[in-house]
Amino acid sequence: MTPLLEVDRLEVSLGRTPLLRQLSFTLQAGERLGIVGESGAGKSMLAHAVMNLLPPPAHISSGALRFMQQDLRTLDPAALHRLRGRQMAMIFQDPMMTLNPLLTIGTQLTECLTHPPAGVERISARAARVRAIEALQEVRIPAAASQLQAYPHQLSGGMRQRVAIAIALLHRPALLIADEPTTALDVTIQAEILALLTELCTAQRMALMLITHDLAVLAETTDHTLVLYAGEAVETAPTRALIERPRHPYSRALLDALPQRATPGQPLRALGGSMPTASALPSGCAFHPRCPQRMSVCPQQPPQWQGTAPDRQRRCHLPIEVDG
């Protein structure tokens, strides 16, 4: 089955400094992929790169990016514009990055429909309104019809994020990229939004690329995970397998550091040091200065991918343990 999204040795650079290096992964239709990493690892950069929406002067310096078998790097701007928002959509940590504070949410929903990009059929204002109400109902906003007149500032954070999701889903995209969508929300609202996203993905057979720093969110909402460290992928695995038997020392350290995994009152198993910045990368394996299992080869050579299955790989010099 041809993948929905293919990323092959993608490199994103700022000037000559590579921010993302040698990223490769695929996403099937309807699959839910999690991208996890700490701040500075490059998760948001990856999300923007996949949409080919990098803020200049950051740019894709090499590698391939194919979505629905189209090469996003060479696609003409008009076609790319049609693709984004219709086949690929994105929601952000702050819903106000999607919403215009000066327009009612009704207007923001309907204008996507009544003023689509060139080459797309426009629908009438009345039909757009009906569609807008449906969209709001889909994201469980109560009294949807009357909320069309509301302005974003009149809604709570959770409601705004629901509206942002509604806008993203208007054209039934094949892929939704969610960049830390619930990080700024309260935990009870977070659970609702994550449940909503999961349900919509299943109902609409939509692929999800969820970016988060929270491993527990990952566990609940994704099928497969990619772990990023200092601009590189270090491990890829089915989420359940990653959580239960992480293979890369960094993945292990992340899970070990969680309070959920520790005995209350006892020191947490913390990893010393901090993630290097793109301009100050260590030689060889980027993780070696902090790695508890560092070997002599680690500073000298960047590690290769090794793994037991195509979807269960890690980049490390350590020998593979037979742990299943």
Partner: protein
């Protein structure tokens, strides 16, 4: 009921904010009658979602702002009545660590200057050599290389800034530290480092913490007792182990159910009615009644008082009466 052994006791604290102006002026009850005692040597966790008033309560506890009504007592003494040397003494004994490490340090002063300043202020008679020694031992205690003292804050990472902020709080040799979301802005691996530091300092210096956080996993790890707040009121207060294994208040139960879990493979949102009501309205009845799945007629009419339901376990809910 005031516990005579309490280090810091808050009694019937209320705080209000007005927002908007003219016709649109709204009064928000940020804290609506909260009483809490912090015992010496304990870590009291204060949890709740945004708008529950926990940060406001923390600032009142530490004396940064005065409450609209209610009393804060430090070792039995109302702090409102403290002046001059007594006030300085209180200032030394109770310190705070803030959420945003990047705003916690003055951008234009070197680390050395920021730590020496309170050291000199509170130990005016000691010699310069003694001041320097205290500086070095504090930096070592928080795990920052003393060679870094000439650096400016912008040269430090978030975790390092937070450690310096903790060191600064320690310059006055406090007894109680109010930590307002001290690790929320930090990455996971750094969070663990700073939490370990806080635990270690508590053991080595006999500190007491009021640990404010929205992250229940963190609070479960570090707190002895936990207080849960909702819309300015206290819902439940219990030892950490009890609260997390057998919560009694419907809000606490909802909260615990909602936390994402590593061993679950789908989200489990609690069945709550529509989102938070406008916090500006004066609430009659239980603050949680509009969302509570088990709300009764009484809940709409009367506010439940915080009652003891078991040893060390207090809950404010009509259902348990």
């Amino acid at each position: 009921m005031s516990d005579p052994l309490a280090l810091l006791s808050l009694t019937a604290i209320e705080q209000r904010f007005t927002s908007g102006s003219g016709l649109q002026r709204r009064t928000i009850r940020a804290v609506d009658g909260v009483s809490l005692q912090i015992r010496p040597g304990e870590v009291l966790g204060l949890v709740g979602e945004s708008g529950c008033g926990k940060s406001t309560l923390g600032r009142i506890a530490v004396g940064l702002t005065a409450p609209a009504s209610g009393e804060v007592r430090y070792r039995g003494q109302p702090i409102r009545q403290l002046h001059g040397d007594d006030w300085q003494q209180f200032r030394r004994r109770v310190q705070m660590v803030f959420q945003n490490p990047h705003a916690s340090l003055s951008p234009r002063l070197r680390i050395e200057a920021q730590l020496l300043e309170p050291i000199r202020w509170h130990h005016p008679t000691a010699s310069a050599a003694e001041h320097r020694q205290q500086l070095e031992s504090l930096m070592a205690a928080v795990g920052i290389d003393t060679a870094w003292r000439q650096r400016y804050p912008h040269q430090l990472s978030g975790g390092q800034k937070q450690r310096i902020a903790i060191a600064r709080a320690l310059t006055t040799t406090p007894e109680l530290i109010v930590a307002d979301e001290p690790v929320s802005a930090l990455d996971l691996s750094v969070q663990a480092q700073v939490l370990n530091l806080l635990l270690e300092l508590r053991a080595s210096r006999g500190l007491t913490y009021l640990f404010i956080s929205h992250d229940l996993a963190v609070v479960r790890h570090i707190a002895d007792r936990v207080a849960v707040m909702y819309l300015g009121t206290l819902c439940e207060l219990a030892p950490a182990a009890t609260l997390f294994s057998a919560p009694r208040h419907p809000y606490t139960q909802a909260l615990l159910q909602a936390i994402p879990r590593l061993d679950r493979d789908r989200p489990n949102p609690p069945r709550l009615a529509a989102e938070l009501p406008n916090p500006g309205t004066t609430l009659i009845g239980c603050p949680f009644h509009s969302r509570c799945p088990q709300a009764q007629a009484l809940c709409r009419q009367q506010r439940p008082a915080l009652r003891q339901i078991a040893a060390e376990h207090q809950v404010a809910c009509h259902l348990l009466e």
